[in-house]
Amino acid sequence: EAGVAQSPRYKIIEKRQSVAFWCNPISGHATLYWYQQILGQGPKLLIQFQNNGVVDDSQLPKDRFSAERLKGVDSTLKIQPAKLEDSAVYLCASSISTDTQYFGPGTRLTVL
């Protein structure tokens, strides 16, 4: 079974630029999560989708972050404009229900 795919793996941008991350979950997984993990900290949930509907986005900085999950499969997370404090690893995960989450390799974002 193929795992969760994410791209790109690394991204370096200047502050105030825009960036987008892509995630392809495991086939058949209805639930998709985006997390932000700052170095030395645990992952922080940004947004959770059930199929293509949003279950929880209470910790998503909506003034600059947006996410969508078209057709209940792939998802993109966008930051516009980026700030220095957005430097982190962005993790995508998927699950069949709300139990075991399967994580992708992450995208390491550096904002200069």
């Binding site: 645990g42 992952p43 139990d99 075991t100």
Partner: protein
Amino acid sequence: SQQGEEDPQALSIQEGENATMNCSYKTSINNLQWYRQNSGRGLVHLILIRSNEREKHSGRLRVTLDTSKKSSSLLITASRAADTASYFCATDFPGNQFYFGTGTSLTVIP
């Protein structure tokens, strides 16, 4: 914050010894999960314990849950160098809100 907190923040043991790490949280949960993260394999699910369970085993892992104290512990027996990683608890709150803890960094010395 509803984020769980792991204790200790860092732990160093000899290979073959047991490692115990703890997680505390603040409000009622649906379930609690433990994950491991290392540079080689990313974030991997280890074990899930539901709020009506008190203890669960999986191979060399033993997890306990005390809902009255709002705490959980993860015991790794007969540790190996390959167990070197960061360990996180993740709590699933009513409404399916997930919060990961701050993590315990485990180093197993060969």
